[in-house]
Each structure stands twice: as structure tokens, then as C-alpha cells.
Amino acid sequence: MSQSGNDRLNKEALAEFRADVASWLEANCPLSQRQPIVREEQIWGGRRRVFPSSDAQQWFEACRERGFTAPEWPAEYGGAGLNAECAKILKQEMTRLGCRPPLYCQGLWMLGPALLVYGNEAQKREHLTAICRGEIRWAQGYSEPSAGSDLANLKTKAEDCGDHFLVNGTKIWTTKADEADWIFCLVRTSDVTPKQAGISFLLVDMDSEGVSTSPIPLISGESEFCQTFFDNVKVPKANLVGELNGGWAVAKELLKHERKMMSAFEGMLEKPAMELLELADYAVGSDAQGRLNDAELRSDISRHLMRETALARLGERIYWQGKAKQTDSRLPLLMKHLGTTEAQAKDELILRSLGGEGLSMDDVNVSEGLRKMVKQWAFNKSLTIAGGTSEVQLNIIAKRALDMSSGERK
């Protein structure tokens, strides 16, 4: 058959798939699950999972049965086994209907993709299936209190004791570790240099004796993150992923997927109570010509909106460059620093606009929507720290984009 004939057939098959998926979604996604998601209603799965509503449970279970919690994973591990084209169609149809993600899980976004590459058959069968089915909730154990940006400097030690590793140390910034069942960890299994070459990737059941966890209260009043302690924890050798001392490669594979999956969900997030312009008009008012009464604020908002739009366009440039095979590998290095810095600039504009209504996160005299903005301002101070500080980003940009040699000591 000719190439174009193949294409036509393929096109027809995709159209059929789209129609099938659309009617399935129509039939299985309750209307309440087609609203923008609020944080409290996310389904995270796990041994202690609780569904926020019976609709949510129904939606989750329907997806689980069709493998739609992990559309691209092989069916044998609980996924739907869809190819990239079909997965994209599914995503488009879900977006079109506004369907909520049926499952949130770090196992889904991060561990799973890495296991598919580096895990052995037994690991894939055990863990991927449990993830897809929302039975096990995972936490990430990378950072340590004393390591900061220097991830490879980790000190949590896994000692080889024949049939098991003995793990001692502590991990910090483990998101919701107090609600997780298992944790994937980078541990030190050798003191060779470079430090990266002595790190292994280990899966730890948090029900094991010697694992404890305590939440870290944040300045936004929340406590998303925890510190997890390992005190003589026995971990079976079977829980080692990849080679002994080969954990750095697994970790890098995993990080590749982190941002991709996270950004896919961003569009689904709850909108703030008011957009910046609406807020500013509410707060300072406008004159007869419709100009905000505070000229400094007006000019600063202009500057921010211009930059925000330019930033979105920078993302598009990267995308289209890729499409056009004119990739400039320097540009992706800039996104995190620029994006997080501008997000914080926006938060400060919001706080300025809020004026006296922005002094508290829990004064019930102020509407909940406005108070959420204040919490957001505080929480977002972590944006330029978590996932690679701005300082590390600037180092990387100087080195890789501008080829400024880093000298020996930096």
C-alpha cells in the first residue's frame, strides 16, 4: 500500500479513536468532575486514600479500568498502552470537556517513567501496577538538609548488609511524605569521587521500621513538605533500581519527566479570584478615561504584562524551533529563572494592589479569594529556590549558554 494510503487509513483510525474516547468520556465523567480542580479535591491515591466525593471515586475507577490513569504505559502494567498520537487525542478530548485528572501521584509523573527505562521486570510489574491503580502513593527523597543546591553532596547512607541495605540519614522537601506509602531515594553507597558515582537509587516502603516523617510548616501557613528520617532502616536488595552506584542516571531520567508532567496539569488549576487588572481596578479605581488612579502601579503592571506575554512567547519560540529543527539549546535554560522571577514580581504587584486587605492570610473579614492571593505570594517565594535555585540557574546559563568558564573553585 502506498504511503498516502497508509496515512489515510491511520487518519481514519485516529478519528475513530477520538470519537470513541469522546463518547466514553461523555458517558463516564460526571459533570462535577468537569470543573477546574481545587487543591482539596485532587485524588492522590495510596493506602490511606479518601475520595472527596462519590463522583470523584466513580470517575477515578472508570479511568483506572480503562488504563487512563497512565494512558501511555503498557496495558500489562495497568496502563492503556496508547501510542503518543492517541494519548494526545485523549488529552485533547479531556481538555475540551474540562475533565479533571483522575489521579495525582509522583509515582505517575516521575518514578514510573524512570522505572520503565531502568526498572527490572519484577519492579515494573509490582510498582507500575500499584501506581496506575492508585494503590500506592509515592514521595520523592532527593534533597537533604545540608546539601542545598549541591544535590550530589547527599549523605544518607545505604550500607550493604548482604541481603539488604541498612539506610541511615534524612531527606527534606519530600512533598506530602506524611501521606505517602513508599519513597524513592537517592542514597550514598560509595565514597568515591566524583560524588555522583557513589549514589544509588532505592525504593523504600515507608511502613518499614525506622522510617519517620514530620511536616515542615511553611511561611504560607501550609505544610506541603516534610522531612523524612531513616534510622537503621532495612531495605531489601530487590529494591535497588538500576546499577549499584548508578543512581545518578536514574535520577536524571526521572527529573526529565517532572516538569513535563507538572506543566500538563497547570492549565487545570483553579483560577485566582480576580485577575491582576481586575484586582488593581477594584483596589485603586480608575479615572474617567479608564486609567488606574495609581500611575506607578499602572506603569509597573504594564511592564509586568509585557514581560509575561514575552515569556509565553519565549516558550512558543522554543516549541516552534523544535518543530522547525532550528533548536537553540540555550533558550530552555532561561525559562525557569525568568518564569519564577516574573511570577514573584506579579505576586508583589498583587500584594501592592491588595493594600490593607493583603496584611493577613486568615482574617475572615477579607474574602477568601483575596487571602489566597496572600498565601500564594508567600508560597511562591519558594519558586526561585525549589527545583534548582535561581543562583544555580544563572550559573548554568553563564556556563552553558554564554560559555563563561567557571574556574576551578566555583
Binding site: 501592592r352 491588595l354 493594600g355 492570610m361 508567600a378 508560597f379 517565594k381 529556590i385 573553585r409
Partner: protein
């Protein structure tokens, strides 16, 4: 600041006192108290024993007459510990408004109990979302006092309220009433910096419960009080900014990454050096304003606006950088850095943002 000998001793005493009696852990313990409680009365009575309410009060009124530079030094030390106390609400605002706007008889009636700590007062000035003292709608026009006041510091713990309001004559005046008076509802809340501010609803406060301050030039007295409070708040903010910069530099000196101390990274050194330059520049503006108060100089308002605008910008910068340079720990409640950050943003709104003061400065300079 150049302090004379007695001011220097005072500062040293205050520094020791706050470090011992009012460390930030003391402030944090308030978080468990009721919403309206913004400070510990026991702490305040010890501060009164130190004589703090009397620092700028003339000897003729049994004050210490140590001057505004002296009070500024104490405010700075308080700022270092983020001390929550009625020093600003009752002394810098309340007492001074009484001294600046009251008749001799009124001063004689109310000052002694304020200075002895028996009573406290606060000033109800702000209305609406932003500081804008020239637009006051609270009014006595109907014979009863009506209006709504916002961001009244320590409103829930004050015996008296000095309320800026329009008199029946149409002139601006200061109405004094007890916080328990008829028609007064106070809703006091803890702000995110763990200090306290509230709104006061005045729903027909009867004339017989109200005393109007009757000094020679009430309007000038109001302006003067606002300038004084603005300058002292700026001084307090500089103390906080200095403390959080010092903590940050110390942290960088302890913490290692990639096998070297963070303090050896040149990019961080330059940022800290920049902050230190901004700190001493703003400090100079505050110090100039305090001096002008002591010398009763004619350009106090101009210097007050400079001091507050520079203090706002400086404290905002340093507290943001402090969080960033502390890395992950900076955004947790396990360290106090985030409290400095929140305090800076609350202070920005109190007695005028930078934008407000740049506009006021330009107006005063005629451009």
C-alpha cells in the same frame, strides 16, 4: 546614628532587655492567644518600668526628654526582635497626638496614666484600603460620631482611642473616647507578621462620651504626629532590616555548598554588599529625619517621606533577598526569616507606601 551618652546607654539597655525578654520566640507564642491580643501586657509593663513611654516627653511632663534620636534607637532595637508592644500605637501615636493636639488640661488628665502604663491608647486614622490621611470621612456632622477606621494598631487592647474625624465645624479634629464607649465596635485581628491591627466601626458614638482635643493648632498637631510616627516606624524597620541582613550574612558564612562556604561566592558577596549599601543609605535618611525632629527643623515632612520610602524599599529588598539566600529554610517557619519578610510588607502599608511618599515628597517640593 550619633547618640549622646545617655542615649547610648538607653540603647544598650533596650537591646539587652529585648534580647532577654522579647526574643522572636516570645512573639511566636502570641500566635496561640486570642485574635485580638497583639502583645503581651506583662512585657509592656516591664517596658514601662524601663521608662520607654517617657523618652521624648518633656521633663515638664515628667518625661525623660531623651529626644527622638533616643526613641529612634529604641525603635531600632525593638525592630531587631520584631517586638510586638504598644510602643507605636500608644506612645508614638497616641501620647504624641495628645501632646501635640491636646490642651494643657487634657494633657494633665490623660498623660500620666498612659506614661504609667495604667492605660494605653491608639490612634484611629486610616480609612479604606490605603493610607491616605487627607481623606477622612468619619464625621461628627450628625452630632453623633460615625465612620469606619482601618488598620488601628493594637485596637483590641487599647483603653482609649484617639480618632481623627471631621468636627461639626467642618475642621479636622481628634475625638477621644474609651474603647468601651457606646457605639464603638472593635474587630481586632492578628496580621501575618503576628502583630495586631483592627477595624473600628463607629455607629453613632454619643457626644457625651467623646472629648475633642483642644490644643492651639490641632491640624498642625495631627500632621506633626503623623510625621513623628512615620519616622519612628522607619527607624524600627531599619532595625529589622539590619537584623535580617546580619542573620543572612552569618548564615552564608556557616553554610557550605560544593565544598566551600556560601559567603565566598562572589555573586552572593556583591548582593550582600549592595544590600548593605542600601541599608546604610536608608539609615542615613532615617537618622536625618530623627535629627530634624530633635531640632524642630522646618523640613521634617520632607525628611519623613524620604525616610519611610527608603526604609520601605530597603527592608523589602533585604527581606526578599534574605529568604532567597537562606534557600529552602527561608520559606519555612522553622526560621524567623519569613517573619521579617511578612513584617516588611505589613510595614509598607502602615503610614504610607513608597509610592505614596514619593508622591508626597514631590508635592512638598513643588513638582
Amino acid at each position: 546614628m550619633i547618640l549622646n551618652e545617655e542615649q547610648a546607654i538607653l540603647r544598650e539597655t533596650a537591646a539587652q532587655f529585648f534580647a532577654e525578654k522579647a526574643p522572636i520566640s516570645q512573639l511566636r507564642s502570641l500566635a496561640g492567644a486570642s485574635e485580638g491580643q497583639g502583645y503581651d501586657p506583662q512585657l509592656w509593663s516591664e517596658m514601662v518600668e524601663l521608662g520607654l513611654p517617657g523618652i521624648t516627653v518633656p521633663e515638664a511632663h515628667d518625661g525623660l526628654e531623651f529626644g527622638w534620636m533616643g526613641l529612634g534607637a529604641i525603635a531600632q532595637e525593638a525592630g531587631r526582635c520584631l517586638v510586638a508592644s504598644p510602643l507605636m500605637s500608644s506612645v508614638v501615636l497616641g501620647q504624641n497626638l495628645l501632646l501635640n493636639c491636646g490642651s494643657e488640661a487634657q494633657i494633665a488628665t490623660y498623660l500620666p496614666s498612659l506614661m504609667s502604663g495604667e492605660t494605653t491608647a491608639t490612634v484611629a486614622l486610616d480609612e479604606g484600603r490605603f493610607f491616605n490621611p487627607d481623606a477622612v470621612a468619619t464625621s461628627d456632622a450628625s452630632g453623633l460620631l460615625n465612620g469606619r477606621k482601618d488598620r488601628v494598631l493594637d485596637a483590641g487592647q487599647s483603653s482609649y482611642v484617639f480618632c481623627i474625624a471631621e468636627q461639626a465645624s467642618g475642621d479636622r479634629g481628634v475625638a477621644l473616647f474609651a474603647s468601651s464607649a457606646e457605639g464603638v465596635s472593635i474587630d481586632s485581628r492578628r496580621t501575618m507578621d503576628l502583630h495586631s491591627a483592627g477595624s473600628i466601626l463607629l455607629d453613632g458614638v454619643p457626644a457625651e462620651d467623646t472629648v475633642w482635643l483642644a490644643g492651639d493648632d490641632v491640624e498642625a498637631g495631627i500632621q506633626q504626629t503623623i510625621d513623628q510616627a512615620t519616622i519612628v516606624l522607619a527607624a524600627e524597620m531599619m532595625g529589622s532590616a539590619r537584623e535580617v541582613l546580619e542573620r543572612t550574612v552569618a548564615y552564608l558564612g556557616e553554610r557550605e555548598q560544593f565544598d566551600v562556604k556560601l559567603a565566598t561566592f562572589q555573586a552572593l558577596q556583591h548582593r550582600c554588599a549592595h544590600m548593605y549599601c542600601e541599608l546604610e543609605l536608608a539609615e542615613s535618611a532615617v537618622s536625618a529625619a530623627l535629627t530634624a525632629l530633635d531640632q524642630v527643623a522646618p523640613n521634617v515632612s520632607l525628611l519623613a517621606s524620604s525616610a519611610k520610602a527608603l526604609a520601605n524599599d530597603c527592608f523589602t529588598l533585604i527581606s526578599s533577598e534574605a529568604v532567597q539566600l537562606h534557600g529552602g529554610m527561608g520559606v519555612t517557619e522553622e526560621m524567623d526569616i519569613g517573619l521579617f519578610l511578612k513584617r516588611s510588607r505589613v510595614c509598607n502599608q502602615l503610614l504610607g507606601t513608597s509610592s505614596y511618599h514619593r508622591d508626597r515628597f514631590a508635592r512638598l517640593r513643588g513638582f
